[in-house]
């Protein structure tokens, strides 16, 4: 017998909001898209900033874990352009400095040291400074930002956007020490700090130790090369460039090479397109710029003449299924490809030569520090770690989320509370009924196709390194794209005791999500559903309590629901209602839904009208006043 779904557990409705569930930081995507639709760009930006302190940066560079899981993919194949809508909010916002949390004059006496001024450390600082902490960040380079600054070329991320968002944090009063590499953690631990956060990233590019590798100066490590370009140490490159590897760094390298004067850029891939690591959109952008991508070329040696690389030899391979599901290469021949420069972009690693191995921080057999996935603490109490440093390269948004979690731990640590007692998430659930057939949101299904991002003219964009290729959505494109969002947080909320089993909801549902049938085993029930389950159990099946008249059960397959609200409109007893689920996420010093003292009315409105602190520590969902 299937058990009734507990919709008071925030996880159930959170799962229905695929984008928010897919986002490591649980950004409230549908709400910020509605705010954009409403022209409330500043509010939308601020809502974003609660979970993700870099909306402008990530509106251009995010790896978009939210988009492949977007419900729209399962309906018409193309996700809502969530990421680029975020950029709209960022581009069109007003000055938001007045809405940032106030920093207390009086400090709490706790000092935190962060290593590396990247996304993770900046998030830690962002969360702890309003609580009265003093935060010092040690950065080895001359500028903060980490890989966001050194590795993302300006034609993708304008400097102004980057610095503005980094400055929001720094201006809260970070004690930033530039050009200050940490050579010995042991030495730093001796200093007077209450906790340490290591957010030093994965700054070491992987090597390709093939014959000839060390015999030419024209062979570069991708991320180092990009960094040199960023700092202006490199401002041109050879005519024919080979980029080895086909991840996102490779995409940035090949496109940068073209802007530095290369006329023939080839990206060399060992496998075929389905195995490419680069995001599909980054591949597309490179291909649009006439970069050639060659599959099944496995590098075998560098060919050097007079101390200069003149060509590379590749094995031409084909792939067969091998053991453990891994592919096995078969060599078919070899090929020499001439070149003037080679850029290796085959991955990156963490590097901890500066962490002594006898100070209580344990490393695993791959020489990675052991970090607790919940508390983000290393095996040495008081030393925390997050971002790429902790588990290897990931996207910025992961670094941000690690920063939030580490800040929660550091706050608990500083106050002497156990780190494993994580503050629970909460949920507001509020009816959206505005009239007999009227909802607070745009509930009709819009058949529009995903809006295509316009790019700067192909000739024009190569003139300078800092011409942003993507033009951003104009108002018309924005208004089209926002309507594609299905408002998945507008939940179909069901109260079994009100149902009279008239079937109206089942008959009207355009996606055949609903079934009333007798309870049974999972197998029996799934066979009796109105339409087959396509993505169960990844997508939840709602199971109601027994219905009053016949004892049967209402089932809802959440998979394809478009949240049109017709079930609730056709329901004579309001057993179905459309209720907005607002996931309340805790942050350091803030219980779920709580705000910093003195936060603005605007921020209150963004919290669905909840007074700060109402749900502190309860973890229970509060059900807002519905119209019943």
């Amino acid at each position: 017998m299937l058990k009734p779904t507990d919709t008071r557990n925030p996880d159930h409705y959170h799962r229905v909001v695929d984008c928010q569930w897919g986002c490591p930081a649980h950004t409230n995507v549908p709400e910020y898209i509605r705010l954009i639709a409403n022209g409330q760009y500043t509010e939308s930006y601020l809502l974003n900033r609660k979970s993700n302190i870099f909306p402008g940066i990530l509106g251009r560079t995010c790896d978009r874990p939210c988009e492949p899981v977007c419900r729209r993919v399962r309906l018409d194949g193309e996700p809502v352009a969530i990421c680029r809508l975020k950029r709209v909010a960022s581009d069109l916002r007003d000055d938001i400095t007045g809405f940032l949390p106030a920093i207390p004059e009086e400090k709490n006496g706790k000092r935190i040291a962060c290593i590396g001024a990247g996304c993770a450390s900046l998030t830690v600082a962002n969360d702890l400074l309003p609580l009265g902490y003093e935060v010092t960040i040690f950065e080895k380079l001359a500028k903060p930002g980490g890989l966001m600054w050194t590795n993302i070329p300006e034609f993708r991320l304008p400097a102004k956007v980057l610095w503005e968002e980094i400055d929001y944090v720094l201006d809260m009063g970070v004690d930033l020490r530039l050009n200050s590499p940490i050579d010995s953690l042991a030495a730093l631990l001796e200093e007077d700090y209450d906790a340490f956060f290591i957010g030093s990233g994965a700054p070491k590019g992987k090597e390709l130790n093939l014959p000839g590798r060390w015999d030419s100066e024209q062979i570069h490590i991708g991320i180092e090369w990009l960094e040199s370009v960023r700092f202006g140490h490199i401002d041109r490159c050879g005519d024919r460039v080979l980029v080895i590897g086909v991840g996102n760094t490779a995409m940035d390298c090949c496109r940068t090479a073209q802007r530095l004067g290369a006329s023939d850029v080839k990206v060399m891939a060992r496998k075929t397109k389905p195995h490419f690591k680069a995001s599909p959109w980054e591949l597309e952008d490179a291909i649009e710029e006439q970069v050639e991508i060659l599959e099944n070329h496995s590098p075998s040696r560098f060919i050097i003449e007079d101390g200069k690389v003149v060509a590379m030899e590749f094995d031409l391979v084909t792939w067969h299924p091998g053991e453990n599901g891994r592919l096995r290469a078969e060599k078919l021949g070899s090929k020499i490809i001439e070149c003037d420069e080679v850029i290796l972009a085959i991955g990156q690693d963490t590097a901890f030569p500066w962490i002594e191995r006898d100070i209580g921080i344990d490393f695993n057999k791959w020489d990675m520090p052991i970090v607790d996935k919940t508390t983000f603490m290393t095996s040495r109490p008081g030393v925390f770690m997050g971002g790429d440093a902790a588990w290897g390269p990931e996207n910025i948004i992961w670094g941000v989320e690690h920063g939030h979690q580490a800040a929660i731990s550091i706050h608990a640590w500083s106050e002497g509370r156990p780190l494993t007692d994580r503050p629970p998430e909460g949920m507001n659930l509020i009816s959206q009924k505005m009239g007999l057939h009227e909802w607070s949101y745009s509930n009709d299904y819009d058949e529009a196709e995903r809006v295509k991002m316009r790019h700067v003219d192909l000739q024009e964009r190569f003139k300078r390194l800092d011409i942003e290729v993507e033009e951003g959505f104009d108002i018309e494109q924005t208004l089209t794209e926002v309507e594609r969002c299905l408002n998945c947080d507008m939940q179909t909320h069901f109260e079994a005791n009100l149902c009279i089993e008239c079937d109206a909801c089942i008959d009207i549902c355009p996606l055949d999500c609903l079934t009333i049938t007798h309870n049974g085993t999972e197998e029996e029930v799934t066979r009796r559903l109105t339409a087959p389950l396509l993505n169960y159990p990844d997508q939840p099946l709602f199971v109601s309590e027994a219905l009053p008249q016949t004892g049967r059960i209402m089932f809802k397959d959440e998979d394809l629901c478009i949240h049109c609200g017709l079930c609730a409109e056709r329901c004579p007893t309001a057993a179905w209602d459309m209720r907005k689920s607002d996931l309340l996420v805790p942050y350091a010093g803030l219980a779920a839904g709580e705000l910093h003292a003195g936060m603005s009315i605007m921020d209150l409105a963004l919290n669905g009208g909840t007074a700060g602190g109402e749900l502190a520590g309860t973890g229970a969902a509060s059900t807002g006043a519905g119209t019943g």
Binding site: E501, C502, A504, D507, P510, L566, R570
Partner: protein, 357 residues
Amino acid sequence: MSYIKKPRVHHPGLTRNRLGLTRRDYEGTMSTLCAGCGHDSITAAIIEAFWELEIAPHEVAKTSGIGCSGKTPTYFLKEAHGFNGVHGRMPSITTGAHAANRELVCIGVSGDGDSLSIGMGQFAHVVRRNVDMLYIIENNGVYGLTKGQFSASADVGSTAKRGQVNREHPIDSVLLSLNLGAGFVARSFSGDKEQLVPIIQAGLRHRGFALIDIISPCVTFNDHRGSTKSYQYTRDNYNQLVYADFVPPAEEIATSFEAGDVRSVAMHDGSRIAFRKVPEDYDPTDRDQVYSYIRGRQQAGEVATGLLYVEPAPREATDAVDFHGIHGTVDEPLSNYPFEDLCPGADALEKLQKRFR
């Protein structure tokens, strides 16, 4: 009613019938009836039945009279021919349509007011004439469109929404049509599609007049405690007397039933009705027995449902007579003949009249 239209986007698993149509292609426009109206469930059952029978919508004539029931043909088979007639006159319209084109699949949707009050005479005669049609009465016991007065099917002792008690005796369309000689009589419930869909299919395939009286609760005016046509009352007193499965010509009767448990009744087009779980003392092909059995169940306070009576078919040529059989019309639909052939013209009329002067 709703402000938005039902979006066209549909489940990717939606299947197509042999005409290449999905269930969604058999829908009409959005219902403007009250949310929760039983009529909308009947509409959904009609859509399901037509889709499964693979009847092309343009081969269907849907007709209705006045009342909430009169609106419902708009909500299914948007590509079918339709006529919303005068109050209680749906039978005449349907008779005319079927007389002109005997190949049309005719479905008339009426209500207890439309059929048992103002249209009582028309109803009686369309049964008598055995017009080849499916006649659906959406029976809710009240005049919903005029805000809830008792209709002719309201039971004695049942109350209106504001408490008045009904003292007048009801007309039962099932007993009435059995009396009038209908060859296919069923009662069902809008809240039970499992029962309703196969009965609609069998009714559509029955040659001659087929009646389905469907209890269809009026959610606004007759779904309260004193009602005998509410969701709750119907479910509490529901007696599914017979289980009828519709078996299309090409299919075998499912073998999952116990051999002695199934009784098969053949229909004229080779399809069959498989009766299951029929009480031992009940024969759905014995008109007199059915009549008294239903009377008995009614007196016991039960709502007897199912395909209650079906004429053992095919009858001998002499009495196998639907409307066209009785009148000996040609096999070719009259609508296929040129106008000149059907209407001799003014000169011929003049000649005829001269004979009587």
